[in-house]
């Protein structure tokens, strides 16, 4: 008997929006629109297409996400991998982001699930590679809030 892979965890965010699914779909799949709310990108709604999201680097993250389109079902479902970029891929995140649009009376239920967070994603953290210096700059403020 092989041991099952360690359980992974997901983030799920759902919000009903008073808009037609087609409009939300455009915002999720047109590069210029995606950039307005998410990040700079070279996304194409084509299965297997590889692309990047690029943002201002922040603590623990160089601002680059390596992605590949997995599912494109217009106005219903969109899925892409969301991985740590190659520069910091060792021990980095390997997750999948899936958008599901479900029509409702008042518009559409937008559901985002980011799945595949492994327990070791935290344990594999290597301080020097993730810009922890900038992070701990904010610790004083956080610690002050701990009382």
């Amino acid at each position: 008997m092989t041991k099952p892979a360690a359980a992974t965890r997901s983030i799920v965010i759902e919000r009903e929006m008073p808009h037609p699914p087609e409009r939300v779909w455009r915002a999720l799949t047109q590069g210029a629109l995606i950039e307005e709310w998410l990040m700079e990108n070279d996304f194409q709604p084509v299965v297997d297409h590889r692309f990047n999201f690029r943002a201002t680097p922040m603590p623990h993250w160089n601002g680059v996400v390596d992605c590949q389109v997995l599912v494109v079902e217009p106005n219903q479902r969109l899925s892409y991998s969301w991985n740590a970029s190659s520069e910091e891929a060792t021990g980095g995140l390997k997750t999948v982001v899936t958008w599901t649009l479900t029509p409702t009376k008042g518009g559409v239920l937008v559901r985002m699930e980011q799945s595949g967070f492994r327990p070791e994603d935290e344990a594999n953290y290597q301080g020097a590679n993730y810009g922890w210096q900038r992070f701990i700059g904010g610790l004083e403020r956080v610690a002050a809030g701990l009382g």
Binding site: I11, R15, H19, R23, R26, L38, H60, G127, W132, L139
Partner: protein, 107 residues
Amino acid sequence: MRATTNELFSTLADPTRRAIFERLCRDGEQTVRALTDRAGVSQPAVSKHLGVLKHAGLVRDRRAGRQTHYTAQPQGLAPLIDWMSLYGAFWRERFDRLEALLNRMDQ
């Protein structure tokens, strides 16, 4: 030993202690004396800070003759890295921006 998140926060909240830790991360192994020369506080104070850092798992020490050498253990910060909460906050903020964009597209 694994430090709690609270212990790590309080350990690194002290600016002098944080500076010592940052210096060890940046410059590699250092003696207490070398750290004292740069810290702007007394050697006993530096030793005390190093003791707190060691207890939190952020440094380890090595005795060589009369000198104690300290090395940073940046992996000791791991308990602070919670990808789930980072991404949770990230996506909630992006949902707000998505809604704002959809409202603009409606006009």
